[in-house]
């Protein structure tokens, strides 16, 4: 076998794991083989990943370090520690939208075209715009941003509008904490997203195209901008004689701007507050023009639908949800990263088969971010599609999927999400602005060990009122994480209020820290490390001083220090 190219995964995850150092090292050491930067194949746990492309398939090496011995192993194509050829963690995965992500040079339009890129656009331009929309309707594609509205129907609304100017926006404001599908797509296959947008512009008659990308994604912005320049050079934005305008706008850090009317305000240079609908954006959107907003992953799918045909696309999935879905899998799993699965697999497939979590160690998954909810492990046989997740009290959302291990506290997790939405509430609706704050106060009271049953009842009561009394999706879904946790894990809330205990030993005010005398070797590291001098020289933690910062637990070489139930540790009044 001869080596044709060396590909280094240089998406954000790869760079954070050391891909830049690796690239510099390779460039110094290797002169006769081309080294290229590719995006992400979705296996973030294995970064930095190096793919060796040979004349007879590829080898993948994981966790490669900039050392001579790693290089020798790679160049001699030794196969210990390699991933399989098309790296899949499990046969439950199905690679469609990700099929070339991380396999082609990030900034090469030629390589994208050589791998079937822009064939969808070419095909579309030979059809009538209405036929393109028909194809998208046949595919059954639903919006991947959370709402799950039929993309083809939305496009038809826009195409029916009689206006000389129309606007098509790509929502790349992936604000859900825990979601990174869109970032990965934009970094790895920016042209796939832009191709989808150009097809959309042709089908709907849109004249102005915007990508609204959050500023926290500098690499995605850079790659998209480069891709746009390449499009302009090749004049691909000329759709059968009609040239469209494409612009990239950076968001400025406001979660609510993921809501469509808020995003439009933000694009207009205003505060990103949502407004009442109707009028819907298709009637009056950006600067009063008819406007449609689709998500990054939706556009990524459009390119595939036009390439292979709507009917072919619709062969994958369930009755009401077609195609595959990307999930950003993180939390307490062995193989975090991006997982592309066909609609209709079970949660167990994703958590155990793809994520590699040990059955029995997982308590729940949190799906849909701050708008979603948790689903307990007992319900992991539920299938993944828009309707089934909704019936369980969660939502598909954009696809953030955080696996919560047995050692995490559900009350604290709920509090975390409420803190997020309280901070991100734009302040327009009273229920959202004040209601989330009141919920957060009660949750803090409970995690602080001062809650009562009445606080739990208050949470569900006001939670339901916020759902009813808020204008936009942020407020309407903000209480979901708490309501879902109350539905499945009320016992944990009650342990906090009635027994004054945190079963997961996570809430600081409800735990103590102790040193196990039998394991302790009296090395003195913990005494030295403790920022508040809570550990005495005879190795006893004074829990009235301890701040539960975990520093001692981290430094102990013998794992002799641990958290325990409140009341079982040592308490003493500090002498002055």
């Amino acid at each position: 076998m001869t080596i044709k190219r060396i590909k280094v995964g240089a998406g954000s995850c790869g760079i954070a794991a050391g891909a830049s150092e690796l690239l510099t090292f390779f460039q110094q050491e290797i002169s006769d083989i081309p080294i290229v930067e590719v995006g992400c194949i979705g296996h973030c746990y294995a970064e930095p990943i190096v793919e060796i492309e040979t004349d007879n398939g590829s080898l993948f090496y994981e966790n490669v370090k900039p050392h001579k011995d790693y290089l020798d192993r790679i160049l001699s194509l030794r196969d210990e520690g390699q991933l399989v050829i098309r790296p899949q963690r499990s046969d439950r995965e199905m690679v469609k939208i990700l099929s070339i992500a991380g396999r082609i040079e990030m900034n090469s339009i030629n390589e994208y075209i050589a791998n079937g890129g822009y064939e969808g656009l070419k095909k579309a331009l030979k059809m009538k715009p209405s036929e393109v929309i028909e194809e998208v309707i046949i595919s059954g594609l639903r919006g991947r941003g959370g709402g799950g509205f039929m993309t083809g129907t939305k496009w038809r609304f826009l195409s029916d509008k009689n206006s000389s100017e129309k606007v098509l926006i790509c929502n790349a404001d992936e604000g859900d904490p825990g979601a990174f599908m869109d970032r990965s797509l934009m970094e790895s296959v920016p042209h796939q997203i832009l191709e989808g947008m150009l097809i959309g512009a042709y089908a709907t008659g849109a004249t102005k195209l915007f990508i609204y990308c959050r500023a926290e994604y500098p690499l995605a912005i850079k790659n998209l901008k480069r891709a746009m320049e390449q499009i302009f050079e090749l004049n691909l934005h000329n759709l059968n004689g009609r040239t469209v305008e494409i612009r990239l706008k950076e968001g400025a850090g406001a979660f609510v701007c993921g809501e469509e009317t808020a995003m439009i305000h933000s694009l207009e240079g205003k505060r990103g507050t949502p407004r009442f609908r109707p009028p819907y954006p298709t009637d009056s959107g950006f600067q009063g023009l008819p406007t449609v907003i689709n998500n990054v992953e939706t556009f990524g799918n459009i390119s595939l639908i036009l390439r292979e045909g709507g009917a072919e696309f619709a062969k994958v999935g369930t009755e009401g949800s077609k195609g595959t879905k990307l999930f950003a899998l993180a939390g307490d799993v062995k193989y975090p990263g991006l997982a592309e699965v066909p609609m209709g697999v079970t949660l167990a497939d994703i958590v155990y088969e793809v994520g590699g979590a040990e059955p029995g160690t997982v308590k729940a998954v949190q799906i849909g971010g701050p708008s979603g909810g948790c689903i307990p492990a007992e319900k992991f046989d539920a299938i993944v599609d828009y309707d089934s997740l909704k019936s369980l009290g969660a939502i598909m959302g954009s696809g953030g999927l955080i696996v919560i291990g047995n050692n995490r506290c559900m009350v604290e997790t709920s509090r975390y999400f409420l803190e997020f939405t309280t901070r991100e509430s734009c302040g327009k609706c009273t229920f959202c602005r004040i209601g989330t704050k009141r919920m957060l106060e009660r949750l803090e009271k409970i995690t602080g060990g001062e809650g009562t049953e009445a606080d739990i009842d208050f949470l569900s009561d006001i939670g339901n009122k916020i759902v009813k009394g808020s204008l936009c999706g942020l407020g309407q879904t903000a209480p979901n994480p708490v309501l879902a946790s109350l539905r499945y894990f009320r016992n944990e809330f009650e342990a906090h209020t009635n027994e004054r205990q945190c079963p997961a030993l996570q809430c600081n005010k409800l735990t103590d820290v102790i040193i196990n005398e039998e394991l302790c070797i009296e090395c003195g590291l913990c005494v030295k490390t403790c920022p508040v001098n809570a550990i005495s020289e005879d190795y006893i933690v004074n829990n009235s001083v301890c701040t539960r910062c975990n520093s001692c637990i981290e430094v102990c070489p013998k794992k002799a220090i641990s958290r325990t139930k409140r009341g079982s540790g040592h308490y003493a009044v500090k002498e002055n």
Partner: protein, 155 residues
């Protein structure tokens, strides 16, 4: 001509470019000063209060000059459940500043931010945009010390 005016000279005066103008100024100056607010208001022919309103709405914009090294601790979901608050606490303790503060030498500022999008490497922080993942206390302190050394060498 002052620098803020120079920075704005390439930017169209149509209001949809306001956020871009603010981002450009902040990228150069590190924050949005009072002077920037009024200059930008003039540029777009809108009252300063409207500029201030937009600035205060978006978390990206800072009204106070940040430190030379900006530490952002990710508090996205994955980082949070993997101990982001512990990480923030360790940094606070080591540098002696709280969340949202800048130290008196103007070297470090600390903030917690929403997701940085590197969830699989949780817990994560970034210092001036460079991402550090899988943080445990020992490694974190080592990284902070290397920046402290860099700061000392520069002085």
């Amino acid at each position: 001509m002052n620098t803020i005016l120079e920075l704005l000279s390439d930017i169209d005066t149509e209001q949809s470019n306001l956020i871009k103008a603010l981002q450009t100024v902040q990228a150069n100056e590190g924050y949005i000063s009072n002077e920037a607010i009024s200059t930008i208001g003039n540029h777009f022919a809108i009252p300063p209060v409207e500029v201030e309103g937009v600035v205060s709405f978006y978390t990206q914009f800072k009204r106070v000059k940040p430190g030379k090294f900006q530490i952002s601790v990710c508090d996205g979901t994955a980082c949070h459940i993997k101990g982001a608050s512990l990480v923030a606490g360790w940094i606070s303790e080591f540098i002696g500043i709280k969340n949202g503060e800048t130290d008196k030498d103007g070297m470090f500022s600390l903030e917690t931010v929403a997701c940085l999008g590197c969830c699989s490497l949780a817990p994560v922080m970034s210092i001036n945009g460079k991402i550090y993942g899988n943080l445990e206390r020992k490694r974190l302190i080592r990284v902070l010390k290397s920046y402290q050394k860099e700061a000392e060498n520069d002085n």
